[in-house]
């Protein structure tokens, strides 16, 4: 590890100690992850449990978030909804990270006309609205969670590719990389030992920001009725779909939309706050 990276981690640790917002949002994200994993064990009711006599009840002692139009417990449905959102968020970010970083590394490291060509492709994708490409791709891949992951991943890799390439181009000029090359280090070794550690900060920041945008895209699509359409999946129902249910009943039963909407908003807010905090810590140049 090079000296500047050591300085980075050292400073990151001390600064993180007194940023309550960062810790708070990190804590919230961990809680949501735990909820997503443990939904069947901590839910007060079963996910599909219908109670015809308990239709559209306002929040009460037995149903903390009330019930929906079919008498299902909203707390249970909201807890299960964390599964879809977190899977989509984390899954998309990982797919995009792998494709995008590899693409950017190759493009930036090899350079020349290949780099030029590869970046032209990125430019075309980058200019188009994510949601548009995403809706078009979802027609092809179908409206289930797997298809959604692929479609979202294919949309958001572009950001990683740009960041990775930019960072590689910068890192390539550093003296120690030149030194390593002069000493006869092979390409693979240079990338792994010298370039990757250097670009890891901005990549992590991009990763943190791409999770909430995936969650946002998924819930928005579910809300307008072209998202995941898979009523019997063990994944539960997306927060966006729950919000859509609530939207129809908002005039008379505003509690149905309130809780899923709050869950979406708080989760996105937590990731954005975490991203901002991490950017200040890990990517001082990007500030």
């Amino acid at each position: 590890m090079n000296v500047s990276a050591i300085e980075h981690t050292g400073r990151a640790q001390t600064r993180a100690n007194y940023d309550p917002l960062l810790l708070l949002s990190l804590g919230f994200i961990i809680v949501v992850c735990v909820i997503a994993l443990a939904a069947p064990y901590i839910s007060p009711y079963t996910a599909g449990g219908l109670e015809e006599k308990q239709i559209l009840q306002p929040p009460s002692g037995s149903h903390w978030m009330g019930t929906d139009a079919l008498g299902r417990d909203l707390l249970t449905r909201t807890l299960y909804g964390a599964r879809v959102s977190m899977t989509v968020g984390l899954g998309t970010a990982l797919i995009a990270l792998i494709i995008g970083t590899a693409y950017g590394l190759v493009s930036g490291f090899i350079g020349g006309s290949l780099d030029h060509f590869m970046m032209r492709i990125v430019d075309i994708f980058y200019g188009l609205p994510d949601m548009l490409i995403f809706i078009l791709l979802s027609l092809l891949f179908g409206r289930n969670i797997g298809g959604l992951l692929v479609a979202l991943g294919l949309v958001s890799w572009v950001r990683f590719a740009r960041i990775a390439r930019g960072q590689v181009l910068q890192a390539k000029e550093f003296l120690y990389v030149e030194g390593a090359r002069a000493m006869g280090a092979r390409r693979q070794r240079i990338v792994r030992r010298h370039i990757l550690p250097n670009i890891i900060g901005p990549i992590i920041v991009t990763l943190t920001f791409s999770i909430p945008s995936a969650i946002l895209a998924e819930s928005t699509l579910s809300f307008i009725g072209i998202g995941i359409n898979d009523p019997y999946s063990p994944w539960g129902t997306s927060w966006g779909t729950l919000a859509q249910d609530g939207w129809r009943a908002m005039r008379t039963y505003p509690h149905v939309i309130f809780f899923p909407a709050a869950a979406i908003f708080l989760t996105i807010l937590a990731f954005n706050t975490l991203g901002n905090g991490l950017r200040d810590l890990l990517d001082p140049r990007g500030r």
């Binding site: 188009l128 994510d130 078009l136 809300f223 919000a243 939207w247 908002m250 505003p254 979406i264 901002n276």
Partner: protein
């Protein structure tokens, strides 16, 4: 300058062609067709329909026919709205969407300039903190939640405005705020950080030293310099307004192009999907071209490239 614009125009046409081709391939690959019904159509009827829309021809000739149509300004028939072509539908709905988008852009620009300037000038004051807190909230609030919240609070609880109508100027207020909030928040944060950086530059100190008034320093010297980063995001910002309009038009029941796009996707009305996609791409290409030209006015150093 003319050569530059021509070059960019050519680039834009290539982008349009790539998008048209990719969308064409994608929609031909997609499973399920526009004429799949719960109750199967008799094969003779299906054959007639396919013959009418040339769906029985090989892909290549369909593709060439489509490209030729684009050049002539004909985007084909709609599979769903039998009496109207895609061009007609777009011509009917685009003005509505453009009005909403324009208003939202205006809203975003005025709010972000006011907030960004204030926040940068009174850096670290409570005003700055409030503005930046609101900006973080604005970036994280999805359109559909903000829209639902505004309808619930302003239209249902307070009864000040009516939601779900598009017939008087006041029906544009809530949709404009909903669509413009996120870009406003994003731009304000961007403008603030770039202004803070600029205010620390030497030429600002020089301006202050020679006795230029504070207002003039911020508005004339600093702002112009800080406009570049704001201009850079105008392309992505337009893209965000375009896709945001899908949701906002859906939530507020506005008869715009975005709403037709959503129903076209549910109906698998392929010509309409492709037509709207192309219009969106064309809008983006034009925006990017305008931004590039504006660049060179704001910062003459860029003109050479």
């Amino acid at each position: 300058m003319t050569a530059f614009i021509l070059k960019r125009l050519l680039h834009g046409i290539i982008v349009l062609w790539v998008v048209a081709t990719l969308t064409f391939i994608l929609l031909r690959l997609a499973p399920g067709g526009p004429f799949d019904r719960e109750r199967k159509l008799p094969p003779e009827v299906l054959q007639n329909i396919e013959a009418k829309y040339h769906l029985n021809e090989p892909w290549l000739s369909q593709y060439l026919r489509y490209l030729e149509g684009i050049v002539r300004g004909d985007l084909g028939p709609s599979y769903k709205y039998l009496d109207r072509g895609v061009v007609e539908i777009i011509a009917d709905t685009l003005p509505t969407s453009a009005t909403l988008g324009g208003l939202a852009l205006l809203f975003a620009l005025s709010v972000s300039f006011a907030a960004g300037l204030t926040a940068a000038r009174y850096r670290n004051s409570w005003l700055d903190r409030c503005a930046m807190f609101l900006a973080t909230l604005g970036i994280s609030l999805p359109h559909f939640i903000l829209g639902a919240l505004l309808i619930w609070a302003v239209a249902l609880q307070l009864g000040w405005l009516q939601a779900g109508r598009w017939d008087q100027w006041s029906s544009a207020i809530l949709p404009t705020i909903t669509l413009g909030a996120a870009p406003a928040a994003y731009l304000a944060a961007l403008l603030r950080s770039s202004l803070i950086e600029t205010l620390g530059e030497d030429f600002i100190r020089t301006a202050r030293a020679k006795g230029v008034g504070e207002i003039s320093v911020v508005l004339k010297h600093a702002l112009r310099h800080s406009l570049i980063p704001a201009l850079t995001v105008m392309g992505p910002l337009t893209a965000a307004l375009l896709t945001g309009s899908f949701v906002v038009e859906y939530v507020f029941a506005i008869p715009g192009m975005g709403r037709f796009f959503i129903t076209a996707v549910t109906d698998r009305d392929y010509p309409l999907i492709m037509g709207v996609t192309l219009v969106y791409t064309a809008i983006l290409v034009c925006t990017n071209l305008m931004v590039d030209v504006l660049y060179s006015y704001v910062d003459p150093r860029i003109r050479t490239t």
